[in-house]
């Protein structure tokens, strides 16, 4: 089973999904992230899916769960780098990632987090 590394930069956690994850690894990542948010008192979580080739209902649910969970732990989640083909497929699948913030790339994701935090101050 693959374990996805969680990087920490300041008070932001960054996860970059690099391989086709099996369901168990997805659940482990969810738990690891919840623990890391608390442990590092993180204010933001960025999930980079720029090399992810498909997002099915399982991964989609993980993204929504992580967003909801980090909100409850006082952090914001941004999903960055979704491929156009993935976005088209998600819409047709019927998955509504309404509660999940997205940005086109890592840089824009970090800028979005900064913006959200300065607005909250």
């Amino acid at each position: 089973m693959e374990r996805v590394p969680i990087l920490k930069i300041g008070d932001i956690l960054i996860v970059s999904i690099q391989v086709d994850l099996e369901d168990q690894s997805v659940l482990t990542l969810q738990e690891d992230l919840a623990e890391a948010v608390v442990k590092h008192a993180a204010r933001g979580v960025i999930i980079d899916i720029s090399v992810v080739e498909i997002v099915d209902s399982f991964i989609g649910r993980m993204l929504a769960t992580i967003a909801g969970m980090s909100r409850m732990l006082d952090a914001q989640t941004v999903v960055v780098g979704m491929r156009p083909a993935v976005a088209i497929t998600l819409v047709e699948l019927g998955l509504n990632l309404g509660g999940v913030r997205t940005a086109l790339n890592l840089e824009k994701g970090i800028a979005l987090l900064d913006h959200v935090r300065s607005a909250a101050r």
């Binding site: 086709d20 099996e22 997002v55 699948l93």
Partner: protein, 133 residues
């Protein structure tokens, strides 16, 4: 053309292997990137259903041809409990468990042809076809 291949679906790892193999065949059949993504996503949903609800099953992956069109056909079969009410199972958002209830209904939208046969106690067979443009 690639010969038909039968793959087991007995673990989460098998679901990953099915996704990867279907991707390869879709590329070979000349499907566009969006169509590859759609058929691989449908394959992932249907393989997971066989694993979760039937404790496992198998998929037959084959190439199809119709005149100048080429495509990929996937037949998922299991000998699980079957689906008592197919219409309800095909409804967006209906799940017997804690799922989003999008696997079957969403997969139908992602492919060109979709056929589901299920009988309680006998199992379920789902056949989907995605054609190149």
């Amino acid at each position: 053309m690639t010969a038909a291949r039968e793959m087991p679906i007995a673990s989460n790892g098998d679901v990953v292997l099915v996704r990867q193999y279907v991707r390869g065949v879709a590329v070979e059949m000349g499907l566009s990137l969006v169509d590859q993504t759609k058929v691989v996503t449908a394959a992932s949903e249907l393989a997971r259903n066989a694993l979760v609800y039937a404790g496992g099953g198998a998929v037959r992956v084959e190439t199809v041809e119709n005149g100048r069109r080429r495509g990929v056909r996937l037949t998922f079969s299991d000998e699980g409990p079957g689906i008592p009410d197919v219409d309800r199972a095909m409804t967006d958002g209906w799940s017997s468990g804690t799922g989003l209830g999008l696997g079957l209904s969403g997969s139908r939208r992602l492919v060109d042809e979709f056929d589901l046969e299920s009988a309680p106690g006998k199992g379920t067979v789902v056949t989907v076809t995605k054609w190149g443009r």
